[in-house]
């Protein structure tokens, strides 16, 4: 019973995605059944659109910058939180979680207000700032549980064996938390790539992919929106899968290296 329910649940989650994916390959502009054959025409149409190519590029730039900045800030924070105790840790944990506990709307208008007051021109830079703010809490949450299990005495053992703080980080800390950080970095990229609600307030003249899809949606229902949506979907889901595979592959590499060592 429960099993059937869960599969229905999954079907509910994936059905709309499956439907627009299907119709993005539809040979006719109709968005209803019967299905009249496959074609890539909507994809060639969307790639011929310079605005689409521009916004895709912008989204990639913002996503990558966001991932890098969030990873640096977030990893430092997670490592720091593991060293803090009691009230300081709780307080900062709450603060770091704050940005996602509020609706995106609130963050968007607050940032617009700040940028206007300090006369910071809205651009991809302001978009990146907003995205770091939005992804940082997710990053910290994703990494934190892993780091909380990370035994600080491992670092102390490395120090005791003669490693400098930097060597300790490179030889002990990073290999242990590395895959988690990599996964969380990809998560940040994907979240940034899809972010719309805050972006709509803080963007300047350069549009991102969600902004472009938004303006297309406001104009008309046209099948090339399907194609754009599917491309955006493929991008984020593909990235998440790659991230998952990376973590899995690294684990396998480590295991097979160990097997080789024991054979030798």
């Amino acid at each position: 019973m429960l099993r059937i329910y869960v599969w229905l649940f999954v079907a509910f989650l994936y059905a709309p995605i499956a439907i627009i994916t299907l119709f993005s390959f539809h040979a006719s502009p109709s968005l209803t059944f019967p299905f009249e054959g496959f074609s890539l025409r909507w994809y060639s149409q969307i790639f011929a659109n310079p605005t689409f190519v521009d916004s895709l590029r912008n989204s990639l730039i913002v996503g990558a910058s966001t991932a890098v900045i969030t990873t640096i800030l977030g990893s430092l924070t997670a490592l720091g939180l593991a060293r803090l105790k009691g009230r300081v840790q709780t307080m900062f944990g709450l603060l770091a979680f704050g940005p996602v506990a509020l609706p995106g709307l609130f963050l968007g208008i607050a940032l617009v207000m700040l940028f206007a007051q300090i006369s910071l021109q809205r651009s991809l830079v302001t978009v990146t700032i907003a995205h770091v703010l939005f992804t940082l809490p997710f990053f910290i949450e994703a990494v934190r549980s892993r780091i909380e299990y990370f035994d600080l005495s491992l670092e102390e053992a490395a120090r005791d064996l003669g490693a400098t703080p930097l060597q300790t980080f490179r030889l002990v800390t990073l290999p242990i938390i590395g895959p988690t950080i990599g996964g969380a970095a990809i998560l940040s990229f994907a979240l940034s790539f899809d972010e719309f609600i805050i972006t709509v307030f803080v963007s300047g003249n350069d549009t991102t992919l969600p902004l472009m899809i938004w303006s297309m949606m406001r104009r008309a229902v046209s099948p090339d929106i399907n194609a754009a949506s599917v491309l955006s979907l493929a991008m984020s889901i593909g990235l998440i899968l790659i991230g998952g595979l990376l973590v899995w592959y690294q684990r396998r590499l480590a295991l097979s290296a160990r097997a080789k060592d024991t054979e030798a």
Binding site: L13, L84, L111
Partner: protein, 290 residues
Amino acid sequence: MMNGNRREATGLALVAPSFLFLLVFFIIPAVLLFVCSFWLAQAFRLIPTFTFDNYSRALSAGGFYLLTLNALKNGLWTAVISVLLSFPAAYFIVYRTRGNLLFYLILVSWFASYLVRIYAWRTILGSNGLINTTLMQLGLIDQPLEVLLFSPFATILTLVHIMVPFALLLLVSALRDVRKEYIEAARDLGAGGFEVLTRVILPMSYKGVVGAFMFTFVISAGDFVTPQLLGGRDGMTTGILIANQFRTAGNWPFGAAMAFILLATFLMTYFMFVRLLDVLRLAPGRRFHD
């Protein structure tokens, strides 16, 4: 003790960059927004002053109540439905499966972008959409059902679709804390399935359930894109109104004031929800004996 202090000092140094970032781009803007809600706007220019005009203007307009009610309705329905739908799935994932495949399958769908989902539901629910054309082809209806799209129904359905993976994520991590042996202990002491749920699982996963509910509630009640694209004329919400003040050249202080009123209603909802769970005896940390 030396060691402990040094460890804490390193910790503080490590969190400092994030703290600075959050200070500049989160705390200061939030405070600024709050201060601004007491300012006035004239001819698109902000005039720093201290007045409750924006608040009284919002609270004295009948329309504002209606829009806020719409926002809260969207939030409440979405939160209730999302938590109810995800709970059994989370239960299944935590207690009935070994691997994580199903969990990841659901989580991956979370990364189907927000706008794309709205768009997907619009194509499905539209008057030329999948449901209407199918129903008409089957001869069940003559005219497309207009209520499907541009209605609170469409908004809530889409918001549920957007929020459910997130609610599930929170519930799964909460249920993982309720180790199997607690359930076995309850069974051993004579509890049936329903009693295990109400007396052990729910009180022990309380934080996660409240978290999942509030998260979905706040995000959907504050959302302005879904109601704007799918909600129709009757589906207008405070969120749309606030967004309009900031996107088209509007009245920022007025928008800020409305945003804080909306936040206040969220807080009230939180306290009411917690109180409700307490009354239903689903909250932990209360004694049942005198």
